[in-house]
């Protein structure tokens, strides 16, 4: 199946009325002579969750890093539609405006909570920091909002003033999600959000994430090697191999009726539940 054919698959059969939130075209990245990512194109609609799956070294994280401004691709464009309806190429936005976008419209959830949290300050301060970065200067109001978000992520607000290292791994990850969602982003980048958690904790976290993502209608790009996570959270699925998207389509369609030989291999390699 060609990439062009795959791109025809919109989230629903009817032609999409709203323009895409993010449209990537021909993204490429090389590290020296090695190609990490080549000719990656996709579109992401508002409120949609797109999972990027593939084995280690397939270019999933490179894609995420390039889109979220942590790395710079060599070629391509990524047009992002802002709240006012204008589209900007986030790859050529410049440092100042990209950082502004990252603070206001976007959120990044890292695999390791240590990359996304400040461990030297309390849990409440970690969440409030996002609010303060966006200009909140009223302490009592911030406390109320932080407490509300901790509750939504099933963290006891009583523990608001404790340091994150006293939290369990799953709680740290939920704290990171609270910190990210408190400013109501329109687009969230998730990098293996359940990596390193045991299975039962993973399931609860996924359940919570799915509820929140639906409720807030936030669009998300989810990088994972776990097909079960993708099946649970994602509307559409992109399969990457050797830096290229080999298959892209509705999640259940790709997983239940894989077309590309590599996808077939990938799906077949999952142990039956």
């Amino acid at each position: 199946m060609s990439d062009a054919a795959a791109l025809e698959l919109a989230p629903d059969a009817a032609p999409a009325v709203a323009p895409p939130l993010l449209a990537a075209r021909g993204l490429a990245k090389r590290y020296g002579r090695r190609t990490a990512m080549a000719d990656v194109s996709f579109e992401l609609w508002p409120g949609e969750v797109l999972a990027v799956v593939g084995e280690s070294g397939a270019g999933k994280s490179t894609l995420l890093r390039c889109l979220s401004g942590q790395d710079e691709p060599d070629a391509g464009e990524a047009m992002y539609r802002r709240l006012d309806g204008t589209a900007v190429d986030v790859l050529r936005l410049g440092d100042v405006r990209r950082r502004l976008l990252l603070r206001t419209d976007w959120g990044v959830i890292h695999q390791n909570p240590r990359d996304g949290l400040r461990f030297g300050v309390s849990a409440g301060a970690n969440v409030a920091e996002r609010l303060m970065e966006n200009g909140a200067r009223h302490y009592a109001d911030m406390r109320a909002e932080v407490a509300d978000w901790l509750m939504r992520l099933e963290i006891d607000p009583e523990r608001m003033d404790e340091l994150p290292h006293t939290f369990s791994g799953g709680m740290q990850q939920r704290l990171q999600i609270a910190r990210c969602l408190v400013t109501r982003p329109r687009l969230v980048f998730l990098d293996e959000p359940t990596g390193g958690l045991d299975v039962s904790v993973q399931a609860r976290l996924l359940d919570l994430l799915r509820t929140l993502v639906r409720e807030l209608e936030v669009a998300a790009i989810l990088v994972t090697h776990d097909l079960a996570v993708a099946r649970m959270l994602a509307d559409r699925l992109a399969v990457m191999r050797d830096g290229r998207v080999v298959e892209l389509g509705l999640t259940d369609q790709v997983l239940d009726d894989p077309q590309h030989p590599y996808t077939q291999l990938l799906v077949a390699s999952v142990l039956p539940a």
Binding site: R118, V121, A125, E129, M132, R137, Y139
Partner: protein, 283 residues
């Protein structure tokens, strides 16, 4: 003046380099200008930054006052004052009013400074964002983007832990509505004095190799929250020596049984008030 040394110890080339840094710092209020800090004949942390700034701006007609925690008669103040008396042969004074240059560690004098005076601060750590961001590259970028939201995390933590902003000294300020600045470890009591100060304020950090400045009459605002506004400390006591109720007081333990007294930290201000009072009594 002792022979064998250039006027004010530093060679002219070095002074010109430091003056250029001072000019740039004054042109961009609150911005930290890197400079090639020299070895000085005193250890880091004793005022190597301040002493280099003073050496670069001092002239034969200047009158120098040096204070350490407000006092003119402590080791650091006496040593630096004598250093310039010997290497530059300038007049020195303990009177704030008579001084044209005041080098200070940890205080701004109580007597209001006036136009034409220069106050030189000794700075241990110039970077206000250092406590939360160890990477210099990153803090510079935060300054460039005026990305200071993270600084409020510190205030937030204070209130969460102690119910109020507990930072008592080196309280962060925004200079001229743009750059976040550490006012050196002065008590927050002195922060309001920096706001629209008629004198020029120069800050020298010798070990960290940075100079920054607040030009005369520049707005300086202390960070705070809307529902936890910036407040300076106050005392129920008055100065036991001069009776002042409006100056910064030091608490001093006076005997083994734990008796204590409160006295002005600014010795010149205190003795001036006492002299005035005894003069009035005599008359």
């Amino acid at each position: 003046m002792i022979a064998g040394y250039n006027f004010a110890y530093l060679d002219e080339q070095t002074k010109r380099m430091i003056r250029r840094a001072i000019l740039k710092a004054t042109a961009i209020p609150g911005y930290q200008v890197p400079f090639a800090s020299r070895e000085m004949p005193l250890p880091y942390g004793w005022g190597t930054g301040g002493i280099q700034v003073t050496a670069s701006i001092i002239g034969r007609g200047d009158t120098l006052k040096v204070i350490d925690q407000g006092a003119d008669d402590t080791t650091n103040a006496v040593s630096i004052r004598r250093f310039f008396a010997r290497t530059a042969g300038v007049r020195t004074t303990e009177r704030t009013r008579e001084a044209s240059i005041i080098q200070t560690r940890h205080r701004i004098p109580e007597t209001p400074l006036r136009e034409g005076q220069i106050i030189v601060f000794q700075v241990p750590i110039p970077e206000p964002l250092r406590w939360l961001e160890p990477r210099e590259r990153e803090t510079r970028r935060m300054h460039a983007h005026a990305d200071y939201g993270a600084m409020y995390v510190k205030l937030y933590e204070d209130i969460a832990r102690y119910g109020r902003i507990a930072t008592g000294y080196d309280y962060p300020v925004v200079v001229n509505g743009r750059y976040l600045m550490r006012p050196s470890p002065i008590p927050k009591f002195d922060n309001p004095k920096l706001d629209r100060l008629p004198a020029l304020a120069l800050f020298g950090a010798g070990r960290e190799k940075r100079i920054y400045a607040v030009p005369p009459h520049t707005p300086v605002k202390s960070l705070d929250f809307e529902d936890h506004p910036f407040r300076v400390e106050s005392w129920r006591e008055r100065c036991a020596l001069c009776g002042s109720g409006s100056s910064f007081l030091d608490e001093i333990v006076v005997d083994d049984s734990g008796r204590r007294m409160f006295v002005c930290s600014d010795t010149d201000y205190c003795s001036g008030r006492r002299a005035k009072r005894s003069g009035a009594e005599a008359a």
